[in-house]
């Protein structure tokens, strides 16, 4: 006879159900838990005797029991106190032989126990990390890595958990430092990079992990470390942007409120609305919050000079290095070294001679070498070290016999070097290279022109007289050019558009101290409360008055007096303006134009210019600009930009914009091979096949990297059609109307002429109404 199974018994055999019941009422179900725990202990013991067998025997699996107990263990900490340690031991001893599913379950259970605070983060990480480093299983590694990262992120989510971070960073550091030749260090690199990207770790300690990774003796670890320095910060920025993008895609409150008005009112919907409002508020707050100030990894380096030297000596210089890197990896290291040299203005003389043997057109990835060379150049590199390099590039790349692409890459490379150290060029070579602007090839032509325009600004006297151009020739004549041509010369900083403000003040007659005090009084014009600004006035205006009275006396005679005394300084300032010109082209043009006009008009143009410069410098050095001043400055800059776009100035502005684009790059940005190759692209002539492909919109053959948009030769209609298709639409209404059969339109046209006034009004009204509703069917 079949035994009847009681309802209760049936239910208890179901682990998920029991789990739920235990969570609701732990005390009542303690007995059941004890029974299950007993079963777990016996199966666990059985399992320990032969850990390699799968646990598929019988009805209950160890996996299910572990899952059940890890979910409910926090209700009975006394009974299940040893459970986490059991799991940890099981994992540590048998991770290599365990059944994959059981193994993953154990890892998951440990993380769950961490969430329930049965174990602390340190224990968890100390268990998982050694496994990650040592396990041969790929899937386990992926799982462990993900769990480790998420645990670190979670424990840093509210406040930075310095203690945990420090211990983990030390573990990572030691992993690489203890055995630089082992490939295990890659995990330390991977973890650090991920946490850096997520802005969990952003301190010098994380950078020092990468530093030691870059200096290790394993190719993958080295590359990982080096690539972090080259791209880690960019990655971090992108991740931050993405995050904020996702936040911006949020709920529109108006729509929600509208929906709440229409739909049936329930408590749940009310709560939803409230939650949405809260979220919107939080996002607003986040938007208003200041951007977290994070230093880039390259700036957090403890000893850049030492690091660059070690990198170079260990990986690049020796003919038999400890770790064999292939060309690509070597290029990464070289990029990092040159980046460090360029950014921190380090002195690493052997680096330049190292470049010498790679600078031939047949060298693979030679443009990357050229880019690295340009990067490693800065104004404190001795010109005699660079001169042979420039000479070699000119000899190898730039000749009539060389292919157009090669020549333009060479010229571009030379130009990039000379932008950073103009003294690396000698006169004969420059005059020779500039000749290539007459080349038939567009790429070579442009590259040569770039070089020419560069030297018009930084060293016009080296050019032949007819190459100098009007502005440069005038400057050479007035003798302003030699200031920049000295080695080790450093430019002064300036404030953009300051001369505009100066002039404006003079016109207004607003030089007195009272005006200035007034400026501080309403420094925050928009805010109504004067409490805070009152504080400002009391403190600042006193000091200001003394200062100003001093400077005012001087300013009257300053022009004559300082002309003699500070001659050298003024010259420098002029030089600076020339060099810095591309940084602020639009704003400065009127002043410069004015200056140049005056120069042509007056007999002593230099003197006028000097007077101007002297006045500007006094304004910046003798006064504290009030917020009102700054606001005015901004306004003046904008108006100057408007005048600059007048037709006469337009052409010049365009030219300068192009130049600015290359020079206005941030100092932290890298020079890449693409920058060098840029103009070489112009030299490439498309074959017939390529042209056909482009006309068909198939892009370039054999996976060329240029983006499809630039080489899309299809008709406008074809492009528009593709765009429509991408949006999931077929044709526009206009297109439909245009394609409609002529005979079908006839009847309507006939009828339309005979409509009565009332009918017409009705049709028009209906049209307006339809527009409001959003189409015939209504755009709901």
């Amino acid at each position: 006879m079949k035994r009847k199974v009681g309802a209760l018994e049936k239910v208890d055999a179901d682990l998920p159900n029991l789990q739920h019941k235990i969570k609701v009422d732990p005390i009542s179900y303690q007995e059941d838990f004890v029974n299950q725990y007993g079963l777990y202990t016996s199966i666990h013991e059985l399992f320990l005797t032969s850990p390699t067998t799968t646990d598929d025997t019988g009805l209950v699996r160890l996996r299910d029991l572990i899952d059940f107990i890890s979910h409910t263990a926090d209700c009975y900490p006394k009974i299940a106190g040893s459970f986490p340690n059991d799991l940890i031991k099981l994992l540590q001893l048998h991770h290599a032989t365990l059944d994959p599913e059981l193994r993953d379950k154990i890892v998951g259970s440990l993380v769950l126990l961490r969430k329930k605070d049965m174990i602390d983060s340190n224990t968890l990480l100390n268990t998982l990390w050694p496994l990650l480093v040592s396990t041969p299983s790929k899937s386990l590694r992926a799982l462990l890595y993900q769990k480790i990262v998420s645990d670190l992120r979670n424990s840093n989510s509210k406040t930075t958990n310095h203690k945990l971070n420090r211990s983990m960073q030390t573990t990572c550091y030691n992993l690489i430092a203890s055995d630089p030749a082992s490939p295990k260090g890659i995990w330390a690199v991977k973890l650090t990079r991920e946490l850096w990207k997520r802005q969990v770790w952003s301190d010098a300690k994380a950078v020092s992990i990468m530093e030691i990774a870059a200096l290790s003796q394993e190719a993958k670890v080295v590359t990982g470390g080096v690539r972090f320095f080259l791209g880690g910060d960019q990655e971090r920025e992108e991740a931050a942007d993405e995050e904020s993008d996702q936040e911006e895609k949020n709920i529109s409150m108006g729509k929600l409120r509208h929906q709440a008005g229409i739909n049936k009112k329930t408590a749940k919907r009310d709560n939803d609305l409230r939650a949405a409002a809260k979220k919107v508020k939080r996002n607003e707050k986040k938007k208003g919050a200041p951007h977290p100030l994070n230093f880039s990894a390259l700036h957090l380096l403890h000893d850049p000079q030492g690091f660059a030297e070690k990198l170079f000596q260990q990986h690049l210089q020796p003919s038999q290095p400890k770790v064999r890197l292939n060309l690509e990896q070597k290029l990464f290291v070289l990029q990092l070294v040159s980046r460090l040299v360029g950014l921190h203005k380090l002195t690493l003389i052997p680096l330049y001679s190292y470049f010498l043997k790679f600078l031939t057109p047949r060298q693979p990835s030679v443009t990357s070498f050229l880019a690295s060379l340009a990067q490693a150049t800065h104004n404190l590199v001795p010109p005699d070290v660079l001169e042979p390099l420039v000479q070699k590039i000119a000899n190898e790349f730039v000749s009539e016999a060389a292919a157009a692409q090669v020549a333009s890459a060479g010229l571009n490379g030379i130009r990039e070097v000379c932008v950073r150290q103009p003294l690396a060029m000698n006169e004969t070579l420059l005059q020779d290279l500039v000749q290539y602007r007459k080349s038939k090839d567009k790429g070579v032509q442009m590259a040569a022109r770039g070089l020419l325009s560069l030297y018009r600004e930084v060293g016009a006297e080296m050019l032949r007289k007819r190459d100098r151009g009007r502005d440069a020739a005038m400057k050479v004549r007035s003798g302003e050019m030699d200031g920049a041509r000295r080695f080790g010369h450093v430019e002064e900083g300036g404030i953009e558009g300051l001369e505009l403000l100066e002039k404006w003040k003079e016109e207004q007659g607003q030089e007195g101290s009272e005006d200035e005090a007034a400026g501080w009084d309403n420094w925050d014009a928009r805010s109504d409360s004067s409490e805070s600004s009152g504080g400002w006035v009391n403190v600042e205006s006193e000091g200001e008055e003394i200062d100003i009275s001093d400077s005012e006396d001087e300013r009257e005679k300053g022009a004559e007096k300082k002309r003699k005394m500070e001659n050298a300084r003024v010259k420098k300032a002029v030089g600076k303006e020339n060099v810095d010109e591309d940084d602020k082209p639009a704003e400065k043009t009127p002043a410069k134009l004015e200056a140049s006009q005056r120069a042509t008009a007056s007999l002593e143009p230099a003197a006028a210019l000097k007077r101007e410069e002297a006045r500007v410098s006094t304004l910046a050095t003798t006064r504290i600009l009030t917020p009102a001043d700054l606001a005015k400055l901004q306004e003046l800059r904008q108006s100057a930009a408007v005048t600059a776009s007048l037709p006469s100035a337009k052409r010049r502005k365009l030219q300068q914009d192009a130049a600015a684009k290359t020079a206005a790059r941030h100092a932290d940005d890298a020079v890449t091979a693409v920058d060098i190759e840029g103009l070489a692209k112009l030299s490439h002539k498309a074959t017939k096949e390529e042209k056909v492909r482009m006309a068909k919109g198939l892009g370039l053959p054999n996976g060329a990297t240029e983006d499809a948009g630039a080489n899309d030769h299809r008709s406008t209609t074809a492009r528009r059609k593709e765009k429509k298709a991408a949006e999931g639409k077929s044709t526009t209404n206009r297109e439909k109307a245009r394609k409609k059969n002529f005979l079908m339109t006839l009847g309507k046209a006939k009828r339309k002429g005979k409509r009565s006034l009332g009918e017409t009004a009705k049709v028009l009204k209906a049209h307006v109404e339809r527009g409001k509703r959003g189409g015939r069917r209504g755009n709901k």
Partner: protein, 336 residues
Amino acid sequence: MGSSTKKKKEKAKDFQKTKLKVGKARPKNTNATDTSFAAKSIVFKQQSVSETRDATALFNHNLSLLSSKTEPQRRDALQYLTTACQVAGEELPQPASAVISKAQPLILDGSNGVRQQLLKLFKALQGDIGPLEQLLLYTRAGMTHLSTEIRLSALAVLDWLLRTQTDAVLTCPGGWIKTTKTFQNLLSWQGGLSSTGATMNGKWSATKAATSLGNNKLLVQQLNSLATFLTAGLTPEPVDPDAAGRRAADLFPLWHTDAHVLPKGSNPFGYLNLFGAPRDAESEVYDDAESRYEIFGELGLLADFQAGVKEAKKEGGEVGRAAALVDKALRLADDR
């Protein structure tokens, strides 16, 4: 003619200008490994294609079938092994311990038929069945199993063990305390828990009825097994003062004969635990009734059991009678 055009082409090739591209990436190595292949597996429908086999091979084959995935195959294999054991007696192709070690996981088998057949096999086995540690582990796991059926058959296995290998069960590591504790858990005879209601963290909660519906049969079986187990464990060996003298007289010129003859059981020094993990109080070996009694009282099991039995006796009927047997076994301990 053909050759001349060919030659012409070859000559022309010599003067062709190689196209030079700046900054070209490195070509792929000639010795690069192509990893774009997919692995495939071959599936056989039959496990074995050979036809004729002798008895030994068949026995081994059936032994291996015990871990088969399909239920009838396991049951049939067990059946074959049972008949083989009954026929062959002690002259099996494999020792009984090997059969046991293969068959013991089936205590936890989900199918009723398999478990019944397994018990038959156990009963048919003759000769030394080796160390019982593993077998006891499986039995205990079966006793705590979710399914009542499995619990029942595990108890049957325990009964069989107690009948045939009493001493071996009691003296194997963990055989005494762990098993009693398992019984304690099963019967919910934890002394600390009151049966009417409990409060924890200031929350009040009612416990459910101690006896599950329709479980009386299991409970009776459990109590019976427990009674057998306790009786076996707590009964002191019959001390025969003359036995030693008689034995010594038989073997007269020899002294300490037992120390010099070859041991009869396997792993004779196992109780020393020279190579295993260190044991705690639960998995220690208690090899005489005296020490078993001591640890039984020390862990507070005696008091818990007495209280539990008292409750169980009140139920009357079959359960009460079974509880009375347990009570009788506990008296053995009380008498000291």
